[in-house]
């Protein structure tokens, strides 16, 4: 059993709920034992570092200090979110190479009774753990429902393969690790040239036109390669391409309908876990059509039924005429 401390990050509980659900579902077959860091806090994303440096690094380091306390012989901290992974890895790295930063951050941590020695923890991304600790052979051995015929565009985004402080990835711009995992699942993996291009990051919030252009490039490229679906390792990438695809389409007059899901969701499918336990159906650009091709049905959750009444939903005059009115509504609904 591989035991790790888990740093989930804020988005895993909300916008990337499908990532968390599918990760928990595949953890058991993969022999992955994840212990959530107790009382972790937000990593500050890409926002805090741009405002005030020492507080930003202290915010990250509180998590490192808590994790070091709770380590209990475990190998490493695993972060499934790219931004969280990078922030934790960066704080650990910079506190070591710039002792002045390390000292000040520890001054701040001391105010909360905490301390962190850089280098105590090994910070790793989930994909790295799956490839290097669990191994492709184990992944292959768990596949019962290979994804033959599903054209998948592997999409890593930026912050996992770059800047890569510990040289863990095969390449900074065209790494093949995610391709290998998806191939092990039996999928038809596209050699996607934009696999580490930017999804727009926080620009969807502060400079939408800039972000839409970055989203358009990715959609165009995935469409050119006739991808059925995109698979990502990052909550921010998923949110930007999924939730803002419609707005980008309206902005450019395009009509892309490219579903984007987490690679863990596809792993779960290949392991024979039912789609509803893997967070399918939570994506806004539905993956249903793509999955139907390979014989996977995603059950549609019953939406509350609306009464079918002709015309505008005004309080019906009919009701005023006593019971007779109710009957007529029922008839109209038929």
């Amino acid at each position: 059993m591989n035991e790790y401390l888990l740093y989930p990050g804020c988005s895993m509980e909300s916008s990337a709920r499908a990532y968390m659900e599918s990760l928990l579902a595949i953890a058991e077959p993969l022999g992955l034992n994840l212990k959530e860091i107790t009382d972790w806090n937000c990593c500050g994303a890409t926002e805090y570092v741009g405002i005030n440096l020492i507080p930003a690094y202290s915010l990250i380091a509180r998590n490192l200090a808590l994790a070091a306390q709770q380590k209990n012989g475990m190998k490493a901290v695993v972060a499934p979110c790219s931004a969280c992974y990078l922030n934790l890895a960066k704080a650990d790295h910079y506190m070591a190479v710039r002792p002045m930063l390390g000292d000040k951050v520890n001054d701040a941590l001391a105010a909360g009774g905490l301390h962190y020695d850089p280098g105590t923890l090994n910070i790793r991304h989930l994909l790295d753990v799956i490839i290097n600790d669990i191994g492709l052979d184990t992944v292959k051995s768990k596949v019962t429902h290979p994804l033959h015929g599903l054209r998948v565009a592997p999409y890593l985004g930026c912050m996992v393969p770059r800047p890569d402080y510990q040289n863990r990835w095969s390449d900074h711009e065209h790494p093949t690790e995610l391709d290998d995992v998806l191939k092990a699942l039996g999928a038809d993996v596209i050699d996607f040239p934009m696999k580490t291009s930017c999804c727009g990051g926080h620009m969807t919030q502060i400079g939408p036109e800039t972000a839409f252009e970055l989203i358009r490039r990715l959609m165009y490229e995935a469409d050119q390669y006739k991808a059925d679906i995109m698979a990502t390792v990052c909550p921010m990438c998923q949110l930007n391409l999924d939730a803002y695809q419609g707005e980008a389409n309206r902005f450019f007059g395009t009509n892309y309908k490219m579903p984007i899901v987490f690679f863990t969701q596809l792993m779960g499918l290949a392991f024979g876990i039912p789609a509803e336990k893997l967070g399918f159906g939570l994506e806004l650009v539905s993956a249903r059509t793509a999955l139907k091709q390979i014989g996977v049905e995603v059950p549609i959750k019953e939406e509350p039924k609306r009464r079918k009444v002709e015309g505008l939903p005004m309080p019906p005059r009919l009701l005023l005429k006593g019971n007779n009115g109710k009957k007529r509504i029922k008839e109209a609904a038929k």
């Binding site: 009382d39 937000c42 994303a45 805090y48 405002i51 005030n52 190479v97 002045m100 990051g201 400079g207």
Partner: protein, 198 residues
């Protein structure tokens, strides 16, 4: 050498106000920035996916830093456009920590109140405010406040998406607070009294 200047400032041999702008930015950056090693090759601007929307490419900005053009640098939209994709960082032949330098410049622009568009710093500050209050990010509060203030006209087009995220429970209506928020507040209070370059 960056480390040397760094150490000399730390030892009180040089004061911050006597530093060149380039050295000041370098010292205020988290890692060892190597900013003074820039050879003006332009790999950064050529690698940048959003260079088309920047006032200056990173290369130009670094030349301006070296020339001491403080106001022009801090007024540039370049740091605010940076999407932290790290393409330039891995391609830079001199290993300059370009993305981290951009973070430093944002912080300096906020302190000097020299940014032109208030949207990006407001977003960052609203985000940080939520994190300081709850210890976790709070997307619903952040998004509604941010869009109402800065993009009210985008709201009708976004209603469907927002509703989708809410009904699929991909966005929570109430914030979640960590247990030991007092500890986090104490840490951040203390951290705010500290600066890297002093």
């Amino acid at each position: 050498m960056p480390q040397m200047t760094d150490e000399r400032v730390h030892a009180g041999l040089i004061h911050e106000e006597d530093l060149s702008l380039l050295n000041e930015v370098s010292i205020k950056t988290a890692g060892v920035s190597r900013l003074e090693m820039c050879i003006q090759c332009g790999s950064c601007g050529g690698s940048c996916p959003v260079a088309m929307d920047m006032d200056h490419t990173p290369r130009m900005l670094f030349a301006m830093l070296r020339a001491g053009m403080r106001d022009e640098v801090l007024r540039s939209n370049t740091p605010w456009m940076c999407v932290s994709c790290y393409h330039c960082v891995v391609r830079c032949p001199q290993d300059v920590l370009i993305a981290d330098v951009m973070y430093t410049l944002k912080g300096m622009a906020i302190k000097a109140k020299l940014y032109r568009d208030s949207t990006p710093p407001d977003f960052s500050q609203t985000f940080v405010g939520m994190v300081e209050n709850y210890g976790r990010s709070f997307e619903f509060g952040l998004a509604s406040r941010h869009y109402l203030t800065h993009f009210p006209l985008r709201l009708p087009g976004m209603a469907g998406m927002g509703l989708g995220l809410l009904t699929k429970k991909r966005m929570h209506v109430k914030p979640r607070r960590i247990k030991n928020i007092d500890q986090l507040s104490a840490i951040l209070e203390k951290a705010k009294t500290l600066e890297l370059a002093s």
